[in-house]
Assembly symmetry: C2
Homo-oligomer: 343 residues x 2
């Protein structure tokens, strides 16, 4: 209780740092010292700290295209030039564009927004390229908790032999988004710099939440909650996957395994704004995909459908309605049979 | 409970904003709309947001000298030129230096570190000068809660007729430092900008703490705790004030009323480093004052003594020991009688 009311200036709760090290990072194959870990107010804040320290004018930051808009905005806000990197179903494509970058921001566990899990082969290629071409990888381990592989791939950070990976993770999915607990893992020197900047920015993340998180992990709730989460999300993922194959065949373009959403390609020429509002009146909330594309001429026919907050039994009827709305919009006159074909 | 686990993107808990407006800001005479309030991760974070938005290169920020080192560091980090402004026992001295500033950062309730409460006359002079010379005041309402005046002066923000005061406050003293809840009050346009920046920096302060704070205030605990705090701190202030008059006469150079610390001038030529370590071995922790001076040639004979965490009965014996250590150090040979005079 005493710890709650104190100002820790630039320190974190040691118990939490220890728990992160022993029970959270170790699950991702990451073994580091406590001076290589900094607690933050969520992944977004970790990226903001990194962008402030590393991402000024003259910096080239490569990132997946489509990618995570918040990361783009944070680095662009600090003056970095954002370089779009192509994606396939193995993850980001290592290429000559990447070699011109100082930093490459990646989401290998579940790529945002496509949910692609980077293959082991691609991971090795990337790390060797980073070492050869002298760039640093910022690994955002987004939704590693909801991977449905029997043996999830270890984090890039754990495979890194040359100290070229900075890792950011959070307890947003495994504990709570609202508590805003993230962590940054890097060389002790960079962590020291980030700690000094954090000291100026807000001193430290609220201590009551650090202690809550530490107790949650140490008492075994983190592990048991992760098991429940994977089971629940796995079932929903299966239901949604089957519903999409049936009612929107061909819309899934990437092989994925787990995550909390699906990335879908709809028929060319669909009017997304109109689709979003028509769906909303039917009680279906869809996320237009265009915000994720880095280039100005983004294809207008991608959407992301989240399922984490939806009851399993509501998924199939929802996809059925979505399919009907899409058919009406995409083939209003010339192809009325589409609806029947799809169903 | 639902609110805890959600991501609010760029919003705050409406209940907390409403409680701050009705029960916290109203006490300081401040009447604003909910779109003029932003919750932050403490005062330090409010200042960081303001410095990011307003304090770039080419900006002149005036501040009290001696003053709050964190504010200086935050604005200097963003490239602002920090202009030292003189102090007397009425508060900051309005003068020609101030007129050259774009922004003036002030701590009128209890000046950091001198604890001077700005007089009403000085408040009016300052506001009229800000209006005439076209500068903006950033009012950090530090320790307004522990003012011992029968009728504490209203905040500059509440007296402001020309929209020239930005206000920052926190619940650090009245609820808990560890929870890190601060708030920024300004024109709706600036709050909108700060909200967008906060969205990039960390989205929003943890929601469980926002809701805890809102309940704490709405259920009356904030008011009753403030009463207890003022009583407890008032008693300690009185004991310490008397002990200082007795054992370190002449060390208090400003008339102050309340706060959580005393700002003391010690004999010229004292060795502060040696004093700090000698006191530490006697169990007395003192804060050297030099870090508070903005100019490079800071006088080396000022210290700040906090009392908020010390039991009332431990205060007088502590000051007595401090006086003995000072006498030994300041007059090692030529004035052995000083100790007796002082005691």
């Amino acid at each position: 209780m005493k710890a709650w009311v104190s100002d820790f200036m630039d320190n974190d709760d040691e118990f939490l740092v220890d728990q992160l090290k022993q029970h959270v990072l170790s699950k991702r194959g990451i073994q580091v010292g406590t001076d290589e870990i900094l607690v933050t107010v969520g992944t977004q804040n970790s990226l903001y700290l990194l962008a402030s320290l590393l991402g000024g004018k003259g910096t080239r930051l490569g990132m997946e295209d489509p990618g995570y808009p918040d990361a783009r905005n944070i680095f662009a806000h600090h003056g970095a030039e954002v370089v779009p990197l192509g994606m396939d179903d193995q993850g980001v494509i290592p290429g000559s564009q990447m070699d011109t970058c100082n930093y490459v921001y990646l989401t290998p566990s579940h790529q945002v927004p496509t949910n692609v899990t980077m293959s082991m082969e691609r991971r090795q290629t990337l790390l060797s390229q980073a070492s050869k071409k002298d760039f640093i990888i910022i690994e955002d381990d987004y939704e590693s908790e909801t991977n449905l592989q029997a043996q999830p791939h270890p984090a890039l950070k754990s495979l890194d032999q040359s100290g070229r990976v900075i890792y950011v993770g959070s307890l947003s999915k495994s504990l709570s988004r609202g508590l805003r607990i993230g962590f940054l893992v890097a060389d002790a020197e960079l962590i020291e710099q980030a700690r000094m900047l954090r000291r100026l920015m807000y001193r430290h993340p609220p201590m009551n939440n650090q202690i809550t998180a530490a107790l949650f992990i140490s008492m075994g709730y983190y592990d048991s909650y992760l098991r429940k989460l994977r089971k629940s999300y796995g079932e929903k993922w299966q239901v949604m996957s089957e519903a999409l194959e049936r009612y929107l065949p061909g819309s899934i373009i990437n092989h994925t395994s787990g995550g909390c959403s699906f990335w879908l390609q709809l028929p060319d020429g669909i009017d997304l704004d109109s689709l979003v509002s028509s769906c909303a009146t039917e009680g279906i909330i869809i996320e237009p995909g265009d915000v994720h594309f880095l280039s100005s001429k983004s294809p207008g026919n991608f959407i992301r459908l989240g399922f984490s907050a939806i009851a399993p039994e509501a998924i199939t009827p929802g996809i059925q309605i979505l399919s009907q709305v899409i058919s009406t919009q995409a083939y209003p006159l010339d192809c009325p049979s589409r609806l029947l074909v799809a169903v």
